[in-house]
Amino acid sequence: MFRLLFARRGDWAAFTLACTLSLTLMLLGRGQQARAAWFVQHAVLAPVDAVVGWVDAGIGVYWENQKLKRRLAQVQIEVDETRSERVENARLRRLLELSQENPFDLAAVRVIARSLDRLGGSLTIDKGSKEGILPNSAVITPEGLVGRIERVSPHEARALTLLHRDCAVAVRVGRSRVDGVLEWEFGENPVLSLLYVSSQEDVKAGDWVFTSGLGGVFPEGVRVGTVSRVGIAENGLMKDVQVKPAVNFRGLEEVLVYLPAGAGRGPRMLPLESTEPDSAAPPATAARPSPAPSESAGAGDGR
């Protein structure tokens, strides 16, 4: 009868058999089901399980590798950002230390443009008259004197560096207290020359040169550079002194600008991010000396 059934209706017979088997399995008790499952799993399907496990491990490693590569790229970007921020942080910390050591009001400003000439004769900074910057204010860095403010607009200002012919500075040789005027001189080999130094004066290579405060534009005692060469001028009366500036003008990113006397505000530094004067700055110490930087001395300081 079964043979006849399978011969004529083989598909239906197979279907009925499979359904019956399935239903029988479903109707088994939990223990019997577990035993049957265990038998099929361990006796029949163990090799398949092994292959599946092997492939799964391979795919898992590939997936994890891709994920780790992405993570590594993200971390690399973060490391680069952190490194850049660390350098900036160190630079700003030095500016802050300088402003705290300095008894005058200082504004920390960013350099937003440089002059087009190769030497770097001028800079544009991101603060102007609204932030208290005035023409002829001295511009410095922790390394030394940069120059002076030439022109001011409400939110930016142009500074002339020592490498500009209109930025002469009254200076003093630190060791021997010899005064002179430092000026940028054009020529075949443009240099910073210390002028008006008599041939009898004591100036040697390696001497530090500081601002003298004469002329009223630059405060006294700001480092300017070192004497790099000393000779006698052609007329024989004066010394021919060349000075190497302390500041690297090409690498300037932030500078400090002397502000007018604080009117009771005392020493402080405008934050780089802020465009408004810091009204919450500590008062006190107003009695400290001010260099009166607001005095206008024109382009030729000391001349």
């Binding site: 279907f15 399935s22 399995l25 479903m26 599946v52």
Partner: protein
């Protein structure tokens, strides 16, 4: 030769189901490649291979499923048989027809499975059907249709037959 090819395809499907599927889940919806295999296998091979394939694959799945042993085997046996009986009238290489056929067959399978699984709780059945069965059927059908189209275009035959 045919049997060997079928076994090889089944092995690949089992490996993909066990290793790849949970990694390509979208919002918790996973494709069910084993049902898709049963549907396609039954469609291409006919009722008796369909019933045997459905029962075997279902039983294999039952070993790793939380439901009672035999439930997947029953559901896949029924689907394999219905698909084989109904499928010979359907144009097998048309991708649209194929997609519709896959979706319908998978929904029938899930209706049987969840019907037994929820044991008469109609609300639970509807929830399972709407939130599990329907998205899974759509996802699986799209995936399998694309996969079959790619494989068959490359081999220039239907996957489990010698038809062009």
């Amino acid at each position: 030769m045919r049997g060997f090819r079928d076994a090889l395809v089944l092995l690949v499907v089992i490996i993909l189901q066990a290793t790849l599927v949970h990694r390509i889940a979208i919002a918790g919806v996973r494709p069910d490649l084993l049902v898709a295999f049963v549907v396609y296998f039954s469609w291409m091979r006919g009722p008796i291979p369909g019933v045997i394939g459905g029962f075997t694959v279902g039983l294999f799945q039952d070993l790793d499923a939380p439901g009672p042993l035999g439930l997947n085997a029953l559901a896949k046996t029924i689907v394999g048989f219905i698909v084989a009986k109904a499928g010979f009238r359907v144009h097998r290489s048309n991708i649209g027809v194929r997609f519709f056929f896959f979706v319908t067959a998978m929904l029938v399978h899930d209706l049987i499975y969840f019907g037994f699984y929820t044991a008469g709780d109609f609300g639970a059945l509807v929830r399972q059907f709407v939130f599990v069965a329907l998205p899974s059927a759509l996802y699986t059908s799209i995936l399998v249709s694309l996969l079959l189209a790619t494989v068959e275009r490359a081999s220039r035959t239907l996957l489990l037959t010698d038809e062009v």
